[in-house]
Symmetry: D2
Subunit: 352 residues, 4 copies
Amino acid sequence: MSIKAGIVGAAGFAGIEAARFILGHPDFELVAATSNELAGKRLADLYPAFEGVTDLAFSAHADAPLTSCDVVFLAVPHTAAIAQAPALVAAGVAVIDLSADFRLKDPAVYEQWYQVEHTATDLLAEAAFGLPELFGDGLKELAAKRAAGQGVLVGCAGCYPTATSLAAAPAIRAGLAADGPIVADAVSGVSGAGRKATARTHFCFANENVEAYGVANHRHTPEIEQILGIEGRLVFTPHLAPLDRGLLSTVTIPLGSNPVTQAQLDDLYCSFYENSPLVTVLTGGVQPKTSSVAGTCRAHVAAILNEHANVIVATCAIDNVGKGAAGQAVQCANIVFGLPETAGLDLIAIPA
Amino acid sequence: MSIKAGIVGAAGFAGIEAARFILGHPDFELVAATSNELAGKRLADLYPAFEGVTDLAFSAHADAPLTSCDVVFLAVPHTAAIAQAPALVAAGVAVIDLSADFRLKDPAVYEQWYQVEHTATDLLAEAAFGLPELFGDGLKELAAKRAAGQGVLVGCAGCYPTATSLAAAPAIRAGLAADGPIVADAVSGVSGAGRKATARTHFCFANENVEAYGVANHRHTPEIEQILGIEGRLVFTPHLAPLDRGLLSTVTIPLGSNPVTQAQLDDLYCSFYENSPLVTVLTGGVQPKTSSVAGTCRAHVAAILNEHANVIVATCAIDNVGKGAAGQAVQCANIVFGLPETAGLDLIAIPA
Amino acid sequence: MSIKAGIVGAAGFAGIEAARFILGHPDFELVAATSNELAGKRLADLYPAFEGVTDLAFSAHADAPLTSCDVVFLAVPHTAAIAQAPALVAAGVAVIDLSADFRLKDPAVYEQWYQVEHTATDLLAEAAFGLPELFGDGLKELAAKRAAGQGVLVGCAGCYPTATSLAAAPAIRAGLAADGPIVADAVSGVSGAGRKATARTHFCFANENVEAYGVANHRHTPEIEQILGIEGRLVFTPHLAPLDRGLLSTVTIPLGSNPVTQAQLDDLYCSFYENSPLVTVLTGGVQPKTSSVAGTCRAHVAAILNEHANVIVATCAIDNVGKGAAGQAVQCANIVFGLPETAGLDLIAIPA
Amino acid sequence: MSIKAGIVGAAGFAGIEAARFILGHPDFELVAATSNELAGKRLADLYPAFEGVTDLAFSAHADAPLTSCDVVFLAVPHTAAIAQAPALVAAGVAVIDLSADFRLKDPAVYEQWYQVEHTATDLLAEAAFGLPELFGDGLKELAAKRAAGQGVLVGCAGCYPTATSLAAAPAIRAGLAADGPIVADAVSGVSGAGRKATARTHFCFANENVEAYGVANHRHTPEIEQILGIEGRLVFTPHLAPLDRGLLSTVTIPLGSNPVTQAQLDDLYCSFYENSPLVTVLTGGVQPKTSSVAGTCRAHVAAILNEHANVIVATCAIDNVGKGAAGQAVQCANIVFGLPETAGLDLIAIPA
């Protein structure tokens, strides 16, 4: 099958990673990669990893044949997806949005956290949430619509929400959580801060440093609460650490008075993900390492019973740009096009 | 003043850092640095940072003039300090123990977490706890004993306990914490794993990786609970990140129904540490960075009110080997010898 | 086609990377991965990058069905390949040796640099040199023998020789080099030092450090001289830098009195590699970056005319474990089995 | 003694490092730190390493009391020092210039490499060259002038010229070098690229990467040739590696027909630097490590005889911002003010 794919915002880290996954995909064909800033330059000029791989050049957004694509990945800032998605969907394109625009189901919550009005609420209502392991049904419904020739839209989960939710969902959905705050302390590599050169992304400031940021006000908070159904209870604190790719979320979930054993917890998690080929549950005290999934769309998850304080400590490691963005977008597209979920996503991290 | 100082276990990271601080100290003179493994080699042979600085050689433990030292720093594994401290104290030496042997006040707790009997419980009862900002009175009492010619013992706080407690103590001691788990997720650089070459400390396994470890069973748990008086409530999860020096602890403290404002929180923290020259409280939303304190004995602290989930998120950055070990040991020694607390500890981190 | 592949010494960095390439290869099937030390453990136990990918376990060398493999990769220390290769070749296996045992054509040179007698000189004489871009004919001859059912042996080039020779060969073979020393200063990531945990590979010693090593006596010297035909003229100085994967060799070649232009140099290099799909020549002043080829079997090469001192400065970036070891081994195996040279080697580095 | 010191361009890496050294200096007092961009902000706002150390704020250049300083460090881009130095010298200030403006003795060479006219050639003729170990006499002459109340100017050596020259000078000055190219391949940490956030300094592009840059045209070429007296013979190729601080220069020097032994070479180097307290010669095959001198003004040097190719391979490790810029500037100032050369420069690198 040859499915024509376009990427809007292909010069950023998520966009170019989508290009990498698509170029290695057996069924997708990359026909357009837009960047108004870099139009005319080859992908390889900016990212020499593509030297000898492709001579495709960035095109200006206005020049790209997006409406003739089968699938378009929007790797754009929030509000830009609201501006672009409706016309593409109307043109019958399957739109996979990596921005935050179509994640929050309640427009009021979107407007509260992003400080801008949501002007595509009809499309928002129709959009599927792009986190296949937790919301696979919605994606499969899109596959039916897509097979019937309709345009569809997926609003992919963010990087922190993906890791945090994969760690916590089995326990939360099983009703194990008692009242009280659920604490997610997550650590991301610097690629999470984007391609723009800033003081934050400067090697000399990022290297040999760990710090928290966005404390008490990070925009992924409502998204995680929506996914897990824990509105008002999440304490989400992201941190920056000196690595390129990788995101680890450590979630502490208070337990109630009904005891659970470590073995039960392991069973619960293994069962929960048994049909999820890209999520691996680690047991026996093994902890997820971000290096094990770097450059891939895989997730490693573990859940440990902390009897001392009567909580579960669940952890999930992903590549923030892979499973946390571009890889997950391709995974969603696979489902929408009726392909195996893992098509083009069988990469293995450099062993470490 | 020339105070003769010895270091037992000088080849490890804490021991050699103590050597660095002592060599730059205006009043201490390094007269012995022991390492049975490396006896006869110069410090500079193992750590070429000392080339052109000192030709001092490691001596075998049995050969070192420890009882004629004024102060001896024990940078040894637990149980070794129990074995060595009594004779040194009896000889009138001020012993600054960096191991875990004299931290936990209840020998039963020590024996539970370290799986070994405590055989120096009398000395344990006399030992001061080495975390000057929180237990300065005990150290000042030792100064009086020392001035009277007696041997004394300080059991210095561990690296995670230091950062976690400095972050949380102002809020906890002010009675702000409601019931429920207190979650400390901390991230340490690889030096925290020690000088021994292992799979964990191998560059290719540590680099580009973040992972949790010791989940639900790390031995610093009871120490932090003792310091803060929160027995049975602490969820402590340490993590490893790819940096050499640095430790950040992020502590989430549930609040009760009495509201507190961010301004009150800032005031509380600033007041708490106003007489602590090595602790700086950051306000205005600025978060501590480990790079700002690397190579020093300083600590940076911030406390943020998270109204969304009604918690405080308090953070503290230290150098795990500096304020978290060797620097704090020197700071304690300064107090014991009646010197300015910051003597020899005025180093500034490489600006970043 | 299903070609049964075995790896001897699969637990080390080169061996496990061979496993990664083979698991992603369309025609090879990994049937054995030996490690006496780790027999019974899954590859994923040691390298969790394989979690969710394969449950294959390491087998003891004696238990592995190596003689029934079509191809066996020897990722073993030198002398071990001499011990193992003859029986495998005799059994009709295509042996791809990653060690140094079958690289140096003159046994006396081997014995001089490795301080051990070469006891398989007949096989040495038959072995092809595994650096396809420079010695493709020899590999193609093996393909014919292999097609005729015979066992064959490839002695793959080392990591430094690969990068250094790819940088210098076009200029040297074109006769541009004048008399005098040819200087190759190369920088390698820490994976080049192997999986063993040592002081050298300890994160805290490798991080934030660059140093030269093996100055004037590195064993890759005679291998590079043999490849380039510059016996006695090479000054080879390797360096260690704080990265995991990557090797850059910078080769300074003195020019004679016949002037060459930059354009001629570019043409020479582009022509030289026009049929080498895994080597890309960068022109226009663009320099190779190791990050562009990390995790792949690709090489990036550039040659700059330095008119000021009348030399060529040629550079080549590879992944020391990829094109420098396991990837090149698979590339050689592809040729031996008549497959496209790039089969299983179309990975793209993480864009950077 | 209290010597009033000002820093122009204090927000950059060299300027702020000068601030760090001055704040720890027993005789200098930092009275002004200029940055037009950041005027009014505290040094600690930009570099929180100064939190708890100083509340000094950056001042606008026009507002700073520079002419009333005893010493002013110019940490400015080239041409800016030409603009500022004359008035300061005329006002009797000791000016220590860290830019390239007063390094090249021949204005024509400056104009050739920097593409701008030198408009302060009188001052250039008077300036001392700031590399104390090789040009100490010139600095001592300034000390006499300074003692007599005159303004003076030092043009400090660049980072690459410092390391490269310290490595090569003993051999070159002893006449050991034969004809032919002298090859200096040097590797620098990212701080060498300055504080500006660019694609080059972005963590995700710099991390896990080594590359050459400025090949055949780096402006430090004529400076090194001037220092060593090897005009037209230097092949200088700088490289970037993923570390913050550190610079290693590896210099290959062809030997003539008169043999030299390793022991003679060691003696030569040790004698050469026996009165240079900040340079340590390593013998016995030990190679300089950049980590051993990070954050300091020290240099480690070794020279190895490579008999195979009849060359010397000399290496020198420095901190590019320390001995390569700010530290050396303070060292020069110390000499100019008649202080011990090492005043304020006795820092020891973090042991590694």
